[in-house]
C-alpha cells in the first residue's frame, strides 16, 4: 500500500454497487457492497490448530456416504473416556473438534450421530442460513416457520435450507445493523430476564448495540434441548445462566437426554455453553463482547472493519487482545494457556473420578440394582456428569470465565465423591429430579 491509496480510501468507505433487500440471501451479492467483510467471511474455511482450539484438518478419503475429503480431529479418539461418559448416546459414535462457520451445514449433515440416531429438524436452527426458510415455511411468520421445521425430521427440514450462516442471519439488509433472527433465543433471553424480574423483555427492541455484539452469537453458542413432542428448540435459562441453575431447570422439568447405558442414570449432555460461561466472567462484566475478541476491528487502509474471519483469537492475538491489553503477544498467549492448562488439569481429574464412579455403579447394579445406594449414586452421576460436561463442552477450555470453570469442576468432583460414598450405604440424597416426562 502507498500513500495515494491511503488517501483515496479515506474518502470513500465503500461503494453501494447493488441494492440489498431482506430477501437477498446470497452472501456473494452482499459481498459486492462489502468486499472486505465477504472476503474474510470466506476465510472461515481455514483450519489451524491452537493448543486447545482452532481445528486440525484431517484428510479422509471421500465416500458416497461422506463426500468430505477433510474433517476436524475426533475428540473421541483424543480422549476415549468421553465414549464411556456418553455410553448409549449418539455422541459416543462421533464427536469432533468444531471448525469454521463455512462447515456448519455439511458437518451436521454428515456427522456419525446422524447414522446412529434420527435427528430432529430443530438441529438446523444453528447450522444453516435459516432466517428466510423460517419465513417461507411460516408464510411470513418467523415463529410459525420455526415451529413447523422443529416438528419435521432432520432430512425433510434440511430440504428447506441450502447454505451455512450468511449475512442475512446477523444483519438487517438496509441498515446493516445486527439483528436477532432465532426464535429460540428470543424466548430464552425473555425467560432469563423474567427470572431477573424484567417482564416481557423483547431482545429485538430492547438490546443495546453493545449487547448485540454478543447476542448474535448467543443464538447458537449455547446449551439447548428439544422440548416435548413438538421438539421445540429451547434454552434452559428460566432459572439463570449458571451451570447450577440450568441443572436445576432440567431437574425441575424432569428432563433427561438419555439413559446411561452402563449405569442406568438419567443422564444429560451439555453442548457448547460459550454464551453462558462467558456471561460469568470478568470480560462480560466489563462489557467485552464475543465480537471484540472473535471479530476484532482490523484496519484496511483508512477503513476499520470487523474481521469476519470468525476464529480463535489465539490466531489473531494482536488485534483481538492488544487493543485492550498492553502485554506482548507472547505474554498474552502464555496467560491464556496458563488458564487453559489449569482448567484442563481439573477437567481430567473430574473425568477420571467419573470413570471410577461409572465402574462402581455398574458393579453395584450387577449385584442389586434395587439397592437404595444405587438410585442415589445414579442421581449423583447425573450431576457430576452435567458439571464436568459443562466445562468439557464449552470451547474455551475455561478461558471465558476461569474462576467459574474451576468452581463447576470442583462441584463435579464432589458429586462424584458423594455418589461413590452412597454406594457404601452412607446415604446422602441428591436433589430429587422432578416427576416430568421421561
Amino acid at each position: 500500500t502507498n500513500i495515494f491509496e491511503r488517501r483515496q480510501e479515506a474518502r470513500n468507505p465503500f461503494y453501494r454497487v447493488v441494492a440489498l433487500a431482506d430477501t437477498t440471501e446470497d452472501p456473494a451479492v452482499w459481498g459486492q457492497n462489502f468486499p472486505h467483510q465477504y472476503d474474510d467471511y470466506l476465510k472461515t474455511t481455514d483450519q489451524v490448530r491452537t493448543r486447545y482450539g482452532g481445528s486440525e484438518g484431517v484428510p479422509v478419503t471421500p465416500t458416497a456416504a461422506d463426500p468430505r475429503s477433510v474433517v476436524a480431529q475426533s475428540r473421541l479418539e483424543q480422549d476415549p473416556r468421553l465414549r464411556d461418559l456418553w455410553a448409549g448416546y449418539a455422541f459416543a459414535a462421533d464427536f469432533r473438534e468444531e471448525r469454521g462457520h463455512a462447515y456448519m451445514l455439511i458437518d451436521q449433515q454428515l456427522t456419525g450421530r446422524q447414522r446412529v440416531a434420527r435427528q430432529p429438524g430443530g438441529c438446523l436452527n444453528c447450522h444453516a442460513s435459516i432466517y428466510r426458510p423460517f419465513l417461507r415455511a411460516g408464510e411470513g411468520d418467523l415463529f410459525a416457520g420455526f415451529e413447523r421445521l422443529n416438528r419435521m425430521p432432520y432430512d425433510s427440514a434440511a430440504a428447506w435450507v441450502s447454505h451455512p450462516i450468511a449475512c442475512v442471519d446477523c444483519h438487517d439488509a438496509t441498515t446493516l445493523a445486527l439483528r436477532i433472527t432465532r426464535p429460540a433465543f428470543i424466548e430464552g433471553i425473555r425467560a432469563l430476564k423474567a427470572s431477573q424480574g424484567i417482564p416481557d423483555y423483547d431482545v429485538r427492541t430492547m438490546a443495546t448495540r453493545q449487547e448485540m455484539r454478543s447476542f448474535v452469537c448467543g443464538q447458537c453458542h449455547v446449551e439447548y434441548y428439544f422440548k416435548g413432542a413438538e421438539k421445540r428448540l429451547t434454552f434452559p435459562w428460566a432459572r439463570g445462566l449458571t451451570a447450577d441453575s440450568m441443572l436445576a431447570y432440567y431437574d425441575g422439568v424432569g428432563h433427561r437426554d438419555w439413559t446411561h447405558q452402563r449405569t442406568g442414570a438419567a443422564a444429560l449432555k451439555v453442548q457448547h455453553p460459550e454464551f453462558e460461561l462467558w456471561s460469568k466472567g470478568v470480560h462480560a462484566r466489563s462489557g467485552v463482547t464475543c465480537a471484540d475478541c472473535h471479530m476484532p476491528y482490523k484496519r484496511v487502509g483508512a477503513l476499520k472493519v470487523s474481521d469476519h474471519h470468525v476464529q480463535s483469537p489465539m490466531l489473531n492475538i494482536n488485534r483481538a487482545c492488544q487493543t485492550c491489553h498492553r502485554a506482548s503477544e507472547a505474554e498474552l498467549k502464555a496467560r491464556v494457556e496458563e488458564i487453559q492448562d489449569r482448567t484442563y488439569q481439573l477437567r481430567n481429574v473430574a473425568l477420571d473420578a467419573l470413570m471410577a464412579l461409572l465402574a462402581d455403579i455398574e458393579a453395584a447394579v450387577r449385584t442389586d440394582s434395587t439397592a437404595p445406594g444405587v438410585a442415589q449414586a445414579r442421581g449423583w452421576q447425573r450431576r457430576a456428569q452435567f458439571y464436568a460436561d459443562f466445562v468439557e463442552a464449552e470451547n474455551s477450555m475455561g478461558f471465558h470465565a476461569p474462576g467459574e470453570a474451576g468452581r463447576i469442576l470442583g462441584l463435579s468432583i464432589d458429586a462424584t465423591r458423594k455418589g461413590q460414598v452412597a454406594l457404601r450405604g452412607i446415604l446422602t440424597r441428591p436433589p430429587s429430579v422432578g416427576a416430568g416426562p421421561r
Partner: protein, 152 residues
Amino acid sequence: MRPTHLLLVVAAVLLGAAGGLGAFTFAYAKGGSYLTDDPSACANCHVMREQYDGWVKSSHRAVATCNDCHTPHTPLGKAVTKARNGFLHSAYFTFGGFPVPIRISPASRAVTEATCRSCHAEVVDAIDPGGAAAPDQDSCIRCHASVGHWTR
C-alpha cells in the same frame, strides 16, 4: 518553533530518508506537522487517529499536547526526537509494514516517562526519596495507563 530547529529537522529527514522519496513523502504526507505542536496535525495521518481519539478522551487533553509528552523538555532533545520520528514515520508510512496496533518504542517510552516526571516533579519527587540515588524508577503508566490515551 524556532527556524534553527526547523532546519535541523528537515536536514535530518533528508539525510535519513531514502533520497528524494523521503523528501516527497515528508512533504506530501504533511510530515511537516512534526514542526508544529498542534495535535490535530499528528492526526493528519489516519494511523495516528486512534491515539488522537484516545488523547481527546484522556485527562490530559486540556493540559498536554502530543509533543508535550512525546518530545523531551529540552531544546536539543526535542529537535533530535522530532527528526528521528519524522524519519521513521515517513519511512514506515511510505513502505507500510509497521505493526498494527502501533506500539510505542522503548526510546519513545523513555521520552514520555521523562516528560511525566518533568511536569509532575513536585507531585512525585516524594515517591523517590532517594532522588537520583534511587535505583530503578517505577513506571508512571504502570498505574496511570490511560492519562495520555484512554485505553478501553
